[in-house]
């Protein structure tokens, strides 16, 4: 069951885990946020293989964060793993419900409709005073299997959980991509009518993969919420979705590795741009994205997992 790629994934995870004790606090938060955004990019990878780019994925990222926050405040759940499960299920369920409508759309309409839903959630959260409206609310530090965590050690444990979870989810997604169902996505992108004439309903796969990408984004949102200790509607703003799409474009045809690597590069570019030019960091981000799209002729059309030009 384990292939060369999976061993490389486990090795990378081990390296990051080992580095946990050496890294200063700010790097722990930066790296953990990057890994979490990498998890969202994994979800995007599934949809982009089927030729669909959601401009509203931040909705599930935000839902996951709020689910983790409310889970600990209202339901008294404090364990990290339970909160992640709760956030994933909540966001996955929301993905399934929104998927009921969005499964019929393609191209720009799919992008626009997913953005519309994310802005509806953003508007509702902005308005809800008992959820702290635009200030959001603070998420108490979680516990791990009963062990309470405070200060920087809490960051190390949360970072370690993030690394393990990322490796697990990345392995899960790469395993899925090797199954028969994993091949249907690219087939839909290349010729959807033919897929339905082979006896498989494209909308059903897109619905399933949309819900799965929602679950992944929800888990990522919960991780960041517990890491930062605060959630606010800004997590669901359309610019955040733009950042996730930026990562997916950066990943290009890199598959699992591409998504995680791209997330790190984005956080690094973001951090450097923030330091170097505090007022013009968006110019640097925009420039990087434009160069990626212009210089990368690959674009979305060649998101197949392997090069097939063996003429």
């Amino acid at each position: 069951m384990f292939r060369r790629a999976d061993l490389r994934l486990a090795a990378a995870g081990a390296v990051l885990l080992a580095a946990t004790s050496l890294m200063p606090g700010w790097l722990l938060v930066l790296a953990a946020t990057a890994l979490a955004k990498g998890i969202v990019a994994l979800g995007l990878l599934l949809l982009m293989r089927a030729g669909l780019v959601p401009f509203g994925q931040a909705m599930f990222y935000c839902l996951g964060g709020y689910a983790a926050g409310l889970g600990s405040l209202w339901l008294g759940i404090r364990d990290v793993l339970l909160l992640l499960l709760l956030a994933g299920l909540a966001a996955g369920a929301a993905g399934w419900v929104v998927g009921l409508l969005i499964r019929r759309y393609r191209g720009i309409f799919f992008a626009m409709l997913s953005m519309a839903f994310s802005m509806i959630l953003y508007g509702v959260l902005l308005k809800s005073q008992d959820l702290g409206s635009s200030d959001g609310f603070s998420v108490p530090r979680p516990t791990l299997l009963g062990l309470t965590m405070t200060g920087t050690p809490a960051l190390r444990i949360l970072f370690a959980v993030t690394v393990l979870l990322t490796v697990l989810l990345a392995w899960g997604v790469s395993a899925y991509l090797r199954t028969a169902m994993g091949q249907i996505g690219p087939a839909i992108r290349q010729n959807e009518v033919r897929v339905s004439y082979l006896g498989y309903e494209p909308d059903r796969l897109i619905h399933r993969e949309y819900a799965a990408s929602g679950l992944l984004a929800g888990v990522a949102g919960a991780l960041v919420a517990m890491l930062v200790g605060q959630v606010d509607p800004g997590m669901g703003f359309w610019m955040t979705s733009g950042e996730f799409v930026f990562i997916a474009i950066l990943a290009g045809t890199g598959g699992i590795w591409g998504s995680l690597g791209a997330a790190f590069i984005l956080e690094a570019v973001h951090a450097i741009a923030f330091d170097v030019a505090p007022t013009y960091w968006r110019l640097i981000l925009g420039g990087t994205l434009l160069v990626m799209i212009l210089r990368f002729p690959a674009g979305l059309s060649s998101l197949a997992p392997r090069r097939v030009r063996r003429a």
Binding site: G123, Y280, L289, I293, S301
Partner: protein, 298 residues
């Protein structure tokens, strides 16, 4: 009864403004299949250009109707320069790429242009209120309305008719429609598609800048006004049907009236009424109210 009239008038005013701001976006998508996420920046630059020009002129002249000419001039200048620059420098290289990649490229342009505007005009807002009070006020259903907003409504109707006339009654219009429906066929029939693309994008930029220039007197022109209008113009264009000019007009009116109704009847809903309407319309008309004919694939 007066609430209904108020909703109608407010809805019409807001709808006309939305049409003026959104029509350039749907024109560019119709002809070039480009969803220009940086459309908001073209609007903002139009506003900044007008504010600067008005500020410069009225520093030494009394308020006069010259303001309207200055606004139109500033908008067309900004639209021409920026439209050409973006089309030649960026969009030309994206010819033939899939719709979503091109949209993402314009998202990158949004990030870049936002900071470029910050470099040029800085953070403090520019105000150009001179023309706003020029035309006095009029009373409808016991409420006083500023005539400038009716001027903007008139301008929107004029622009709509102008585009309709160009598209249906002139040679360039027919060539434009040909490119809208089938770019390859139009090229095969000898239409210089490249020229049509450049002309369309510049026209789209000028329309956006015009929207900004005529909004400048109503609001202080400050960083971020471009980003504010992006999502609502998408809603208008998607509701109307991507690429359809009459669709944009109907979409703008629908959104305008929905927002006015929310404000008068249930204010807290104002935050998400536009997106709820958009999701609602798309549930029943998946490609908007005036969808373009789909080509048979097999």
């Amino acid at each position: 009864m007066s609430t209904l009239i108020a909703i109608a008038v407010d809805g019409a005013i807001h709808g006309a403004w939305l049409f003026l701001v959104a029509v350039g976006l749907t024109l560019v998508f119709g002809v070039m299949k480009i969803l220009n996420i940086a459309h908001g920046n073209l609007y903002a630059i139009g506003a900044y250009a007008a504010a600067t020009a008005l500020g410069y002129w009225f520093a030494s002249h009394p308020p006069s109707a010259a303001a309207l000419a200055i606004q139109v001039g500033a908008a067309l200048a900004a639209g021409l320069v920026l439209g050409l620059l973006l089309e030649v420098a960026v969009l030309r290289h994206l010819h033939g790429r899939d719709e979503v990649s091109v949209a993402l490229a314009t998202y990158a342009l949004l990030l870049i242009l936002d900071d470029v505007m910050l470099m040029i005009w800085g953070t403090d807002p520019q105000s150009a209120a001179a023309p706003y009070l020029l035309l006095g006020a009029s009373r409808i259903a016991g409420m006083r309305f500023n005539n400038y907003e009716f001027l903007v409504m008139g301008l929107a109707i004029l622009v709509g008719l102008l585009i309709w006339w160009v598209l249906t009654r002139t040679g360039t219009g027919r060539r434009l429609t040909a490119v809208i429906h089938d770019r390859e066929m139009a090229a095969a029939m000898g239409i210089n598609v490249r020229a049509v693309h450049v002309a369309t994008f510049v026209a789209g930029a000028c329309l956006a800048a015009l929207g900004g220039a005529f909004t400048a007197p109503m609001i202080p022109v400050a960083p971020g006004i471009g980003a504010e209008i992006i999502v609502v113009t998408f809603a208008v264009v998607v509701i109307g049907g991507m690429g359809s000019i009459p669709g944009a007009a109907v979409g703008a009116l629908v959104v305008g009236l929905a927002r006015a109704a929310a404000v008068h009847l249930y204010p807290p809903a104002e935050v998400f009424i536009v997106y709820a309407v958009m999701a609602g319309v798309l549930c029943f008309r998946p490609n908007g109210l005036f969808p373009q004919a789909a080509v048979r694939r097999i």
